[in-house]
Symmetry: C2
Subunit: 194 residues, 2 copies
């Protein structure tokens, strides 16, 4: 049995990363991901799992391909010294004040601890509803480094590593990333159902 997942996203990086994870888990014969343009609604909440689940329910409800599960991922960067900012609104913050703004907020701040969180929700009439969460701890760099990845990748250094996410190729990033951990759980769960 093969699961074809409709992945509601316009972010090509995310699609590439998820395909890489599937490949790393040797699950290509069981799970396939297709980017899919469904209406996306995101609620305002501090809980990424709630945001992702709500969005996946809404998208599945609007989907005309009910035989395929719908998957939504929501991710955020949580900086300890900034009380979790930018958190669930990372994408908006990236588009407005950007990396420069976050680095300015962190000027003179000693505590650089931060984590990336990813919540992956799946909704399907037969499989039901599930949310899988992945987290990677790390620190905020003092300056942006690297050009790969997207969003705040150039200023996030995962624990036990010298490079930022933006200095890693996709394979390397997937060894560490929050997204990778969350999708790994989803894929393992699907494999167990196959």
């Amino acid at each position: 049995m093969k699961f074809v997942l409709l992945f509601v996203t316009k972010n090509e990086h995310k699609v590439l990363e998820v395909r890489q994870i599937i490949k790393m888990l040797n699950a290509e014969s069981i799970v396939e991901v297709r980017p899919y343009n469904l209406p996306k609604i995101e609620i305002q909440s501090n809980d990424l799992a709630e945001i992702a689940l709500h969005a996946a329910r809404y998208a599945y409800d609007k989907s005309h391909l009910k035989e395929y599960p719908v998957v939504v991922e929501d991710a955020g960067l949580f900086i300890e010294a900034l009380n979790g900012f930018p958190g669930p609104y990372s994408s908006y913050v990236y588009k407005t004040i950007g990396i420069r703004g976050v680095l300015k907020l962190m000027e003179g701040v000693e505590n650089r601890c931060a984590y990336f969180l990813s919540a992956v929700a799946i909704v399907h009439s037969e499989l039901g509803e599930r949310v899988f969460v992945g987290r990677v701890d790390g620190s905020i760099a003092h300056e942006a480094r690297g050009t790969k990845g997207f969003g705040f990748d150039p200023i996030f250094i995962p624990e036990g590593c010298d490079k930022t996410f933006a200095e890693m190729n996709i394979n390397e990033k997937c060894l560490y990333s929050h997204r990778s951990k969350a999708f790994r759980k989803l894929i393992e769960w699907l494999v167990s159902k196959a």
Copy 2:
């Protein structure tokens, strides 16, 4: 005819401000506002009107008092030099990086232009759905001043004024405020229907 509005908010300042506006318009015999605890859902969007309308629809749907219109207000501070940040997420930004964070982002920034926007949505089976928007232009102060009001009031100086919102009493603030302008439109519309 008197309209009793169920105002979905936990912010007492907002309730006081709206009552003051009703008073200033001599509309107390026509419009009454009651703070009401209904499920509130806010979507992520750059459009305050959309956020307020969506929330008002949702709350009215959950209301057991369908004879009363439901009112939701959403407001935000939009800073030009920060590409509109914090905008629709002003309340989250206030709770995390706060006034200090916004002032830090504005350090060395010459362009201090900003505006407050308020969107007031009303939903009712007979009155239908409407959204009223109010805006006040002004600038970001170089330091926080005043203790009245709430949120970013201590750093916002409306055009044609020396004081921040937090240095004004409620009457004064209502002469200038975005909220006042939006609710004035709502109240005038209700008065025309009475």
